[in-house]
């Protein structure tokens, strides 16, 4: 392995490219037409333009494999999202004679279809959430098909009981997932979940799980190499979510103890072993107040929140991915968790307006710095946030000796974070950190909805703030043109390091 094509964009592309550089590997970035000059293209040894704008460019597996061949890359790292959990893409990469930096296509398939995953896990002795797989394979949009799916869903729902979760079998990241609290809501929820799943995954199949209230979302990081070793690297608590999107993650979980960690870790290793997993993966569980835990799903890729595990375990997960993909044994010692790490996701969204995605220029963008602060991003001051892509701009990670110190460090970091020109959730996150549930670590997945039922209200500016604003109003409007980077679809930019 000498040169890795990173089939992604934004912060995770930058993260992987830096890991390649540090591993002595060349890196190849790809970019859509509307992302020429983006940070990840500059960090890479070489960058190749894709045809088309927006996410579809990054979803074109054939074009990406062609780019790998044209640029001399001999391996492909998919990051997360996009093609990372597409078994067909993994297979095509391997058939093109390239190294696929991820688990086998078979493992992706068995875990990617959530229904199959449920069954596999049950057979491996891993506890799953009470629920019901549906054998219906119809994925069409026709009303008659829909009515027949609805009938079987209604029947299954009666067995599982309300409230329940309707989940797309091909789903992930909250897409194609709907809470259903009564039979009356079922039809609308089913229609909407199937449509979202069809749009996102081209597969409208759904299944049902009992809705576990006040449960925690706790996931276990696993790592497996091609030499028969599979280990877990402790857990991440990701209970603070909004619309099933994680917002705040921490490691270790405040709900954890050594015995529970050993049991959940063993379950996660069993889950990975059941599909002959190789590489970095995450086994997600719901953890109930009484300590019962249930398999939720397995993410067969690097996770957004991987840095908090890196902080407390001292393991560089992306470096291990590269090492494992090149056929070496992992270099991971005994598990020892050091201190406490927290990640918050910085979204371009408006918490005071139903968290709708926001766009605009990053006219001022000064991320926090200092000891114990890690900031992973794919943007810099002067860039423009477009509506085409996922609104996650960055991940802010802190590591400190204790949970209390980590919370204090995160508050300090958020206070220091200056973003002007695009609305973000920074102020909302800062308020979130003061909630007693967050301070005490008694978090659960519906916390945000329950604490902010009417949304979040931004602070009223002080008189002094208005005075400064009035002076700033007399200044010329800040130029917000983005970098005049090359925009031809076939141009490629690169930086060569010595």
């Amino acid at each position: 392995m000498r040169s890795v094509l990173v089939a992604n964009r934004g912060e995770i592309a930058c993260r992987v490219i830096r890991a390649c550089t540090e591993a002595g590997l060349d890196s190849v970035a790809v970019f859509a037409e509307d992302e020429a000059g983006a940070l990840h293209t500059e960090l890479a040894t070489r960058a190749v333009g894709l045809t088309g704008q927006g996410p579809s460019a990054y979803l074109d597996g054939e074009a990406i494999i062609a780019a790998a061949r044209a640029s001399g890359a001999d391996a492909v790292h998919p990051g997360f999202g996009f093609l990372s959990e597409r078994a067909d893409f993994a297979r095509a990469v391997m058939e093109a004679g390239l190294v696929w930096i991820g688990p086998s296509p078979e493992a992706i398939e068995r875990m990617g279809d959530k229904m199959t995953a449920r069954i596999t896990m049950r057979d491996a002795g891993v506890p799953v959430i009470p629920g019901c797989e549906l054998e219906t394979s119809t994925t069409g949009e026709e009303e008659r098909d829909f009515q027949s799916v609805l009938a079987s869903v209604r029947l299954a729902a009666e067995n599982v009981g309300y409230p329940l979760l309707l989940k797309a079998s091909a789903g992930g990241g909250g897409k194609g997932m709907r809470e259903v609290h009564s039979e009356a809501q079922l039809e609308d929820a089913l229609r909407s979940a199937r449509r979202e799943a069809m749009t996102a995954f081209g597969d409208g199949r759904v299944y049902i799980e009992r809705l576990l209230r006040k449960a925690r979302h706790v996931e276990v990081q696993v790592l497996a190499d091609g030499h028969g070793r599979t280990v877990h690297l402790g857990e991440r608590e990701c209970s603070i979510q909004r619309r099933h999107q994680k917002v705040f993650e921490e490691s270790p979980s405040p709900a954890m103890n050594a015995d529970l960690r050993a049991r959940m870790g063993a379950a996660a290793v069993a889950a990975a072993t059941a599909v002959d997993y190789v590489g970095a993966g995450t086994v997600e569980f719901l953890l109930e107040e009484d300590g019962t835990f249930h398999f939720l799903e397995m993410n067969t890729r690097i996770q957004v929140e991987h840095p908090i595990t890196e902080a407390v375990t001292g393991v560089d997960l992306v470096a291990e991915q590269l090492r494992i993909a090149s056929g070496e044994a992992m270099q991971v010692g005994d598990l020892h968790l050091q201190g406490h790490a927290i990640e918050v996701r910085i979204y371009a969204e408006d918490p005071s307006n139903a968290f709708l995605p926001s766009i605009g220029p990053l006219a001022v963008f000064r991320p926090p710095t200092g000891p114990g602060v890690r900031f992973d991003t794919g943007v810099r001051e002067g860039d423009v946030v477009s509506p085409s892509y996922d609104p996650m701009l960055a991940k802010l990670v802190v590591h400190a000796p204790s949970r209390r110190q980590a919370l204090a460090r995160m508050r300090r970091a958020l206070d220091d974070f200056v973003v002007l020109g695009t609305t973000t959730n920074v102020g909302f996150l800062r308020d979130l950190l003061d909630l007693s549930e967050v301070v005490n670590g008694t978090t659960y997945t519906t916390l945000i909805d329950e604490v902010f039922p009417a949304g979040w209200t931004p602070p009223v500016p002080s008189t002094a703030a208005l005075a400064v604003a009035a002076c700033a109003a007399s200044m010329p409007t800040k130029s917000t043109s983005s970098n005049s980077a090359p925009s031809s679809p076939f141009i490629s930019v690169a930086r060569r390091l010595p």
Partner: protein, 161 residues
């Protein structure tokens, strides 16, 4: 005189140029560079803020918080639409749930949009009757584009609620 839209009504501020900076009441404001400002109140030590003007907004970071303040330009008032339901962001229309003449209640969904791979519902801002539908399924719309015109119910009705 600078006027900002506030949660209710507006706020007027009159900075007076003074000795390379400005004075507003007991406050003194100085510009440090393109984006950094210093301000001090009588007796208190100066503090730092970040502020830039971008078109009709001033964006401000002070005391760890960001504020976006909308400038009211002379003669530009009343531009907010009454009874118009506009696209909250750029995206595609997935479903139009109402027809002209439909009576709707405040909060009921009118249009389903898709943006950034997520569905979003545009809700009725008040009780009313659909006067016009400006988009169809599949249309790509810009932020702020009017999707639906609503005739609000009479003031008497509203007052009774």
């Amino acid at each position: 005189m600078v006027e900002f839209r506030a949660r209710e009504g507006s706020v007027e501020v009159q900075p007076i140029p003074n000795d390379g900076g400005w004075v507003i009441g007991s406050l003194r404001v100085t510009r440090l560079d393109d984006v950094r400002w210093s301000f001090e109140e009588d007796g208190a030590p100066p503090r730092i803020a970040y502020a830039v003007r971008i078109r009709d907004d001033v964006w401000l970071h002070v005391d760890g918080r960001v504020h976006r303040l909308n400038l009211v330009e002379a003669g530009a008032r009343g531009s907010t639409e009454e009874g118009g339901c506009t696209a909250p962001m750029p995206g595609a229309v997935l479903e139009v749930l109402v027809d002209v003449g439909d009576e709707v209640l405040a909060g009921s969904p009118l249009v389903v949009m898709e943006a950034m791979k997520m569905e979003h519902r545009v809700l009725a801002p008040a009780n009313g009757t659909v006067a016009a539908v400006h988009v169809e399924v599949g249309a790509r719309v810009q932020q702020g584009q009017t999707l639906i015109d609503l005739d609000s119910n009479t003031t008497e009705d509203s007052a009774q609620r």
